[in-house]
């Protein structure tokens, strides 16, 4: 048990240290998120009301795309330098090791998106409660994006053009998170409560937490076979 905790914590810490030493990777994802959201007003015009009504969708779709961008390297670095083999050979259950990696991925890419979203929400004329709902929805939703995305990242391991393929595999699976996440903000915007959306999102997160690690572990074993 102690060995397990040590291994899980070490893997988490290793990925965080690596991310710190290659800061630009995480910053690129964040920058992408900000730039995409900022470009929307240029495309649809500066009408505040229009921007406000589009904001939930725009923010969520941009978050999906930003996450996609970061997924390709989730396992491919470890795959290339052989660390993945060592992780597969570790005596600890692979599905738990995978959870460590995903937690690190979320801390590096998901959490910054949540933290910067109020700024972008204000840019798109969202008011206080809407922004809080947006943050809550992103807080529950971005782990789902990391977990589901990791399945795609594992399945495209070592393939040529894996990055593009991930999007095709994973974006359809992101639909529920998108619907619930953007819907939560919409609900508040139209004067009702976002509680139903957020509860469902939490349920979805729990379901994903239960099932995704298994799928990721299986995919990793298959693709590094």
């Amino acid at each position: 048990m102690n060995g397990l905790a040590t291994a899980l914590f070490t893997l988490l810490r290793r990925d965080l240290i690596l991310a710190l030493r290659r800061r630009q990777d995480a910053l690129v994802v964040l920058g992408f998120f900000v730039v995409v959201v900022s470009l929307f007003p240029l495309g649809v015009g500066p009408d505040p009301q229009l921007l406000r009504s589009m904001a939930p969708g725009v923010l969520w779709v941009s978050a999906l795309l930003a996450t996609m961008l970061s997924l390709e390297r989730l396992f491919s670095d470890d795959f290339r330098d052989g660390s993945l083999e060592q992780i597969l050979l570790a005596p600890q259950p692979l599905s738990l090791m995978v959870m460590s990696k995903i937690l690190a991925h979320w801390l590096i890419t998901g959490l910054p998106l949540v933290l910067i979203s109020p700024l972008l929400g204000m840019q798109l004329n969202l008011d206080g409660t809407e922004i809080l709902t947006l943050m809550a929805a992103l807080l529950l939703g971005t782990p789902i994006l990391s977990l589901v995305g990791a399945i795609g990242a594992a399945l495209t391991l070592g393939l040529r053009g894996g990055g593009v393929l991930i999007s095709l595999l994973i974006l359809p699976l992101y639909v529920p998170a998108l619907v619930l996440g953007a819907g939560a903000v919409d609900a508040v915007m139209y004067g009702s409560s976002a509680q139903a959306h957020l509860s469902l999102m939490a349920a979805l997160l729990i379901l994903t937490l239960l099932l995704a690690p298994w799928a990721i572990a299986a995919a990793l074993r298959i693709m590094s076979d």
Partner: protein, 249 residues
């Protein structure tokens, strides 16, 4: 238990499956043709025009069966994929791969006919209603499955990896469907209610059923044919393939 396993594997062994599928497929194909003809006759000649939609409702007889088939086939594909993944049954892997193109085709038809039905009904080809939207996402799922299968060179690995994807997809399909339905009701979109109309006459219902069975038979026939080809390609170095091909040459 062990004996049962042996029996099952014997049935599922590639040469046996190949021969059996070759014998069965024409029957399913023939049945499909007959059912299509009868179904179209009932749907177009016997069934009267709908008092609300006129004749455009007849698109239902192809739209609804293809939409049903697209979902059934995805689930079936996932079931075969799971069997292939867990028990490593080659024929199940091949069946999963063979189902995907036909499933995608039915999904495309459901979308196409849905759009053409939408124009006279809603006045526009595309409406983001729950069924069309989830069909569209289902099409993406099928395309993703096929793309992943094609991207991986090693057949065994391709089969296993896409099996994982199919399973992830099949868990998601109901969630996607319900989230889309929910999204749709919240945004007060249009939705097709014809199929659930209590006034649907027996003639219409039987036409719908006939067409559904026709689609089933067609799908079974085509999938068996394709599975045979996939099996030949995968096992092209095996003795049983050479034997069968030698006879023909």
């Amino acid at each position: 238990m062990a004996e049962q396993r042996v029996q099952w594997f014997k049935f599922a062994s590639p040469p046996n499956f190949y021969d059996l599928a070759g014998r069965l497929a024409p029957w399913f194909g023939g049945l499909a043709a007959i059912l299509f003809v009868v179904g179209l006759y009932v749907g177009f000649v016997l069934a009267p025009p709908d008092y609300q939609q006129g004749n455009s409702y007849r698109i239902m007889f192809i739209h609804v069966p293809t939409a049903w088939m697209s979902m059934f086939l995805y689930v079936l594909m996932a079931v075969y994929a799971a069997i292939g993944l867990i028990w490593r049954v080659k024929t199940a892997e091949v069946m999963a791969k063979a189902i995907a193109p036909t499933g995608a085709l039915f999904t495309f038809l459901a979308l196409w006919t849905g759009a053409l039905w939408g124009k006279p009904t809603w006045g526009t080809y595309w409406v983001w209603d729950a069924r069309l939207t989830s069909e569209l996402i289902l099409l993406f799922l099928y395309l993703g499955y096929m793309a992943l299968h094609a991207a991986i060179e090693d057949r065994q690995r391709a089969a296993n990896a896409s099996a994982i994807l199919a399973l992830a997809g099949v868990v998601n399909v109901p969630i996607i469907y319900f989230s889309v339905v929910w999204w749709n009701t919240l945004h007060q979109g249009a939705s097709i209610t014809v199929t659930s109309a209590p006034t649907m006459e027996t003639v219409m219902f039987s036409a719908l059923m006939l067409m559904t069975f026709a689609c089933w038979m067609y799908a079974i026939a085509v999938v068996l044919w394709r599975a045979r080809l996939e099996l030949l390609e995968r096992e092209r170095r095996a003795a049983w393939v050479l034997e069968r091909m030698g006879e023909k040459a």
